[in-house]
């Protein structure tokens, strides 16, 4: 029965997505005038605030100087891009950024869903509310605080090494070996953001029709089975949408965490695109280089989400556009 429930939840979804193939006709346009006018107004807004500033991308093709401004700075064509892609370091920071981006995405995504579902299984409202409130508090701590505590805990005589030694292990120098850095960053992200990220899933869970759970209980479904056949399928659209959005963000693996946790010994794995841009662009007053790197990131992001979106479309899943 539970399988059936989940299948029917899925089927209902799918139907909604594919059922409506509306023909464009004058009558239909007229019927939708409210929708069209409203979206047009927002389109104007979006164009002004999000698209017009993209004119600044021209900076990437010139040697921007404040004196000459956007319009009269010297045109250098693709020189800035050439500079980036001919530098072996830049290729290395792309690798680092991607690796940490993917690792963070997987870890934070998985933990947020897991936490939301498990929290939903806590039945005492007061405890549930309490845990939830605590869980999102680290979101308000700045990275410098969180990384400071983490650095302390993982130092040679920090608490983690004390535990390792108590079990007879040898202390680990977490910050001088390259292999630990990416997992540490992923952990830091999970630590700080799990509770916060879970909020969206909790909201989605509230919309599940309780009748589904009741029916499943009557059929003798256990908790795990209810999670897998009711809760998860019901929040699946939310999961898919957030997954798609985040796939486009893998190159935005960040700056602060790596900057604060990294050090010279493990530079080869800790530097990200944003740190590179700071070192080579911003601190040298070179806005053009940063813009070029930004364009590169945008292009990659958009390619990634278009691919991911098409895959979702083919699989009949929820999609962005």
């Amino acid at each position: 029965m539970s399988q059936e429930t989940s299948a029917s939840v899925k089927r209902a979804r799918k139907k909604k997505n594919d059922e409506y193939k509306v023909k464009t006709s004058m009558a239909e346009v007229k019927r939708q005038s409210f929708l069209i006018v409203t979206s047009a107004i927002f389109l104007v807004y979006g164009f002004i605030f999000y698209y017009v500033p993209l004119g600044g991308w021209i900076m990437a093709f010139e040697n921007y100087k404040p004196k000459t401004g956007l319009l009269h700075s010297k045109w250098v064509g693709l020189a800035k891009f050439k500079f980036l892609f001919e530098d072996a370091t830049f290729i290395r920071v792309i690798r680092n950024t991607l690796a940490m981006g993917v690792l963070n995405l997987v870890a934070t995504f998985f933990m947020a869903i897991l936490f939301a579902i498990l929290l939903n299984e806590v039945r005492t409202t007061l405890i549930k509310k309490g845990i939830q409130t605590i869980s999102y508090m680290p979101h308000f701590l700045s990275w410098i605080i969180v990384t400071g505590i983490l650095h302390d805990a993982l130092s040679a005589n920090g608490v983690v090494n004390e535990i390792i030694q108590a079990f007879g292990g040898t202390p680990i120098m977490f910050f001088s070996e390259t292999k630990y850095f990416w997992p540490i960053v992923a952990f830091a992200n999970v630590w700080k953001e799990t509770g916060w990220n879970a909020i969206i899933y909790l909201a989605a869970i509230t919309s599940i029709d309780p009748c589904l759970y009741e029916a499943a209980s009557i059929d003798g479904a256990g908790r795990l089975s209810k999670i897998f056949h009711i809760t998860l399928p019901s929040i699946r659209p939310t999961i898919m949408i957030l997954l798609l959005i985040n796939v486009g963000n893998v190159l935005n693996a960040g700056f602060e965490v790596q900057y604060l946790l990294g050090n010279d010994v493990i530079k080869s794995v800790s530097d990200t695109i944003d740190i590179y841009v700071l070192n080579w662009g911003i601190s040298q007053s070179d806005f053009s280089l940063g813009t070029a790197a930004g364009i590169f990131k945008s292009v990659v992001s958009i390619i990634l989400i278009v691919i991911a979106n098409n895959m979702a479309k083919r699989a009949g899943e929820e999609r962005l556009f």
């Binding site: 979206s39 927002f42 308000f140 969206i200």
Partner: protein, 300 residues
């Protein structure tokens, strides 16, 4: 279904509940630690805190850090501006994002894919500091309060979260209202919105927290305008100034020594002070997405 299966399910449930309890306990301990640690440091003497090793309780108790933070000039103006931008910003964002989400979640809408794509792209592109500044300047948004609430008003992320939620609402509701002659705005206002309170609460929380914590826009667009300063900007200024331990080699003067506050303790106090109001606001929103409101009936 047999009775034995029911029993087995109950047995597993017990295991599940116990494991879940352990997981939650571990989770709470791990997430609560940095928060308590921050509170402890915020009540500790700055010079003493330099030695490190403060965990759950202050070693040398003092209120000096809070006095320093609350004594910062402009803190009152900043608090008023921040509350204003949080309230106005959240209201505006909620209204516009919800309306837009309603439009693109209509299955019959002819341009839903195109409009969605238009907004999705905005999440991944960015014109950069200088062009944005020039734009705002030409729109006369700089040196004004409105720069806080107008530019970021619609965010594709929040809109998409709402859209997804609205798509999950059965079409039959909309259809029957349409049969009764209700227009789109009525359907949006009377039928869809009341069902969307959980996601509205979520988005309101996101926007409110974003507004509450913002400072970069205050620094960039209202640098010389004290009347539009924000809380986090004032705290940021305080922090960078306390942090200035003669770090600039050009300025080889002695930095006043003897002050009992340090960046670490002031930062902690500032964090606690900004966190408190949000935590107080939280229960009002939380009831929507933790206990939830349900369509026709109390959920258990």
């Amino acid at each position: 279904m047999g009775k034995s299966k029911l029993k087995r399910a109950k047995g597993w449930d017990l295991v599940f509940v116990i494991l879940n309890g352990i997981f939650m306990l571990a989770f709470v301990v791990i997430t609560l630690y940095p928060v308590i640690n921050t509170v402890a440091i915020s009540f500790n003497d700055g010079i003493d805190a330099v030695r490190g090793g403060i965990h759950l309780w202050p070693r040398e108790f003092t209120l000096k850090n809070y006095v320093t933070v609350l004594g910062k000039q402009n803190i009152k103006t900043a608090a008023i501006v921040t509350v204003a931008r949080t309230v106005i910003g959240s209201a505006l964002s909620l209204a516009t994002n919800a309306l837009l989400a309603y439009v693109v979640s209509r299955k019959r809408f002819l341009f839903k894919a195109q409009v969605s794509l238009f907004w999705v792209i905005t999440m991944y592109v960015n014109g950069g500091l200088v062009p944005v500044l020039l734009l705002y300047k030409n729109l006369h948004l700089t040196n004004s309060f409105w720069v806080y609430v107008i530019p970021g008003m619609i965010s594709a992320f929040n809109m998409l979260v709402m859209r997804t939620y609205m798509q999950g609402i059965p079409d039959s509701l909309e259809e029957s209202a349409a049969l009764d002659g209700a227009g789109h705005f009525t359907i949006f206002w009377k039928i869809i919105s009341p069902l969307c309170l959980p996601v509205y609460a979520t988005v309101t929380l996101f926007v409110a927290v974003y507004q509450w914590n913002s400072w970069f826009d205050a620094m960039l667009y209202n640098r010389m305008k004290d009347e539009y300063t924000t809380l986090q900007y004032e705290l940021m200024k305080l922090l960078t100034s306390v942090m200035q331990q003669g770090g600039n080699a050009n300025n080889m003067k002695s930095v006043a020594s003897g002050s009992r506050v340090t960046p670490v303790t002031v930062r902690s106090a500032a964090t606690v002070i900004t966190m408190l109001p949000i935590i107080c606001l939280y229960p009002f929103l939380q009831r929507y997405f933790v206990t939830g409101l349900t369509i026709g009936g109390v959920k258990e």
